[in-house]
């Protein structure tokens, strides 16, 4: 193919402007990259990259600032919603979002996320649930499924001793302060499109309605699940979605209309 031909072609797919041109450090088959892209597309759609402040959490998603062309604060483990609260109060006109994993948000940071939602802080929270602690090497997470084997539940999660996987979206949807709460997945093209819409909606909730928007994204961790990327992707539909149903659990703006 000659250069002239390339120029003649219409570009139908490109890197979102809010994403930096860098190589990914995520493992093969990890879906953080897809989710990063969806978040960047939402920022592009509202043209907010130049104003946005992101709050990185602890875990694989800590390198947020390498991927997004935005200002970023690195929060202690679980504390991103509190850090975001401080940032948003100082810059009420600027978009603020957190990007947190399941250990960060649903275990050590449970208190921060619940009270942030309950205050109705006008921020957007992207919650990536892959049922394990990725960065520390695949330990049991608050979202680890019953009987799921991890490095700290080698015989499978025993719900009588370890408790049950927490459905954070349903929990937060029950709070008065939550304006928008949805659970999505990125395992099929259709789900990716739905996830993109939900993430946009969560930003819109902040930008238009000054409300707290929350999106839980079911995601893979092939490395720590001990699976190849294809099998890991299949597990999302086979095991995760039955326990963590997809859908919009709260949409205050729609209910008000």
């Amino acid at each position: 193919m000659s250069i002239e031909n390339v120029e003649a072609m219409k570009q139908v797919f490109s890197r979102p402007a809010s994403l930096n041109a860098v190589q990914t450090h995520f493992c093969p088959g990890c879906q953080h990259g897809v989710i990063h892209r969806l978040v960047a597309q939402a920022m592009d759609a509202f043209d907010i990259q130049a104003q946005t402040i992101g709050v990185a959490s602890v875990g694989c998603s800590v390198f947020l600032y390498g991927y997004f062309g935005i200002d970023v604060i690195e929060a202690p483990h679980g504390r991103a919603p509190a850090v975001a609260t401080g940032a948003k109060r100082v810059h009420p006109q600027r978009p603020v979002f957190t990007y947190q994993g399941d250990g960060d948000l649903a275990a050590i940071g449970t208190s921060e996320i619940i009270h942030c939602a309950n205050r109705g802080e006008p921020i957007t929270v992207i919650f990536v649930n892959n049922t394990t602690y990725g960065m520390t090497g695949g330990q049991m997470a608050p979202t680890t499924l019953p009987s799921q084997k991890t490095s700290t539940s080698p015989y499978g999660r025993n719900t009588s001793k370890d408790g049950y996987p927490i459905r954070m979206t349903e929990l937060l949807a029950g709070l008065e302060g939550t304006a928008y709460a949805a659970r999505v997945a990125v395992d099929t093209p259709q789900h990716v499109l739905q996830a993109g819409k939900a993430i946009k909606k969560a930003f819109q909730t902040q930008l238009r309605d000054n409300g707290f928007g929350f999106v839980e994204v079911l995601s893979t961790c092939p490395t720590n699940w001990g699976m190849n990327p294809v099998d890991a992707n299949a597990r999302v539909a086979e095991e995760m979605i039955p326990y963590f149903p997809l859908g919009v659990f709260k949409d205050a703006a729609a209910q008000g209309e």
Partner: protein, 356 residues
């Protein structure tokens, strides 16, 4: 002369903070410091600032981290058990070079302890407190007026060095009332604009990051060395202390905060009876006034360190003047253990008589 007010030490902290332009407060109720959030909750709305009663001490220190990263003058306050909970966030603030004020109106411990005054958090305050080998700027007011003045200074020093600052007081200084002459805040000329603070990347096209994670080979070591150069610079430029009757003193009593007030009266009693005694009161606990101890013990004076604990600052005194005889008198904190001036006078007499 402005009107002299009659206020609590805790209220003076709140007044000084608001006067210094602090418009963001995040906290959680705990005795004996709740007058601070109560005052600020009442006054902040009219100033257009934000007051959040957070769900926890942990959340409040992290809200402070977020506000500080965005360039705001912001603060939190608590008392000993609450300050323990904040240590994680304080370490992150230190690592991320986020300025900000943390007020500790100490109570006795360990554990839930009691609500009475204590100086047992000296180590925690001056040696880092959280993980990672950092320091805070630590100021120790010993009067209601200083609660006001040093709160302002704490913000300035913290902004100047991008090092979090702590006001270390206790239930005595926080709960006592005395005269306060409020005065307008004047920003120091040398304070730089916070061009590192986050406002969104805007048109500059380069994103800014406030972080404490450094994984590259040698990166974190360089970062730590940078922090420690700042501590060294503060040691040179920012030490503050007060001397009382030191010129001909044969015994140098040293104490900070509430015990310095008690020691002041004890020294006055001793002087009235002809004892050659003086008082050296550190105002900055970090940086510690090492040179002052050297200077005031150069002629062979003996030192008596008095604390409301079982011996913490005395370690720093001994390190400052290793060849000087340093005695210690302390009371373990708790209800009824606050020393009296008469008690400290007896200690002074003991050490003066032993000497002669």
């Amino acid at each position: 002369m402005t009107k002299r007010l009659f206020v609590k030490g805790n209220e003076a902290v709140a007044m000084g903070a608001l006067e210094a332009g602090c418009r963001y407060y995040f906290g959680y109720p705990i005795t004996p410091q709740s007058d601070i959030p109560e005052y600020i909750a009442r006054e902040m709305p009219a100033l257009g600032g934000e007051f959040i009663q957070a769900e926890s001490e942990i959340a409040s220190i992290n809200m402070l981290l977020g506000a500080s990263a965005c360039g705001a003058r912001a603060m939190t306050s608590s008392s000993s058990p609450g300050i323990s909970l904040k240590q994680e966030g304080i370490s992150y603030m230190a690592g991320s070079e986020c300025p900000g004020l943390i007020v500790n109106i100490c109570r006795s411990g360990p554990g839930l302890g009691g609500i009475d005054a204590s100086q047992a958090d000296y180590f925690q305050a001056t040696k880092g407190g959280g993980h990672g080998g950092y320091h805070l700027i630590v100021l120790a007011p010993s009067s209601v007026q200083e609660m006001y003045d040093l709160t302002m200074l704490a913000f300035d020093l913290s902004d100047r060095y991008r090092v979090p600052a702590m006001i270390l007081a206790d239930a005595v200084i926080g709960q006592m009332k005395e005269a306060l002459e409020p005065h307008p805040y004047v920003a120091p000329d040398d304070l730089q604009p916070k061009d590192w603070a986050l406002i969104g990347p805007g048109e500059r096209g380069v994103n800014k990051v406030v972080k404490s994670l450094y994984l590259g080979d040698g990166e974190l070591e360089q970062h730590n060395l940078k922090l420690h150069r700042k501590y060294a610079e503060m040691q040179e430029k920012e030490v503050r202390y007060e001397g009382y009757e030191l010129d001909d003193a044969e015994l140098v009593v040293t104490a900070y905060g509430s015990t310095a007030r008690i020691a002041h009266t004890a020294v006055r009693m001793a002087r009235q009876q002809g004892y050659k005694v003086g008082l050296l009161r550190p105002i900055t606990l970090f940086p510690f006034p090492k040179e002052a101890y050297k200077h005031h013990t150069a002629a062979g004076q003996k030192v008596l360190c008095v604390e409301l604990n079982t011996g913490q600052m005395v370690d720093d005194v001994r390190l400052a003047v290793p060849c000087v005889e340093v005695e210690f008198y302390g009371r373990a904190p708790g209800a009824g253990s606050l020393p009296t001036p008469e008690e400290l006078f007896a200690q002074i007499r003991l050490h003066c008589e032993v000497r002669s």
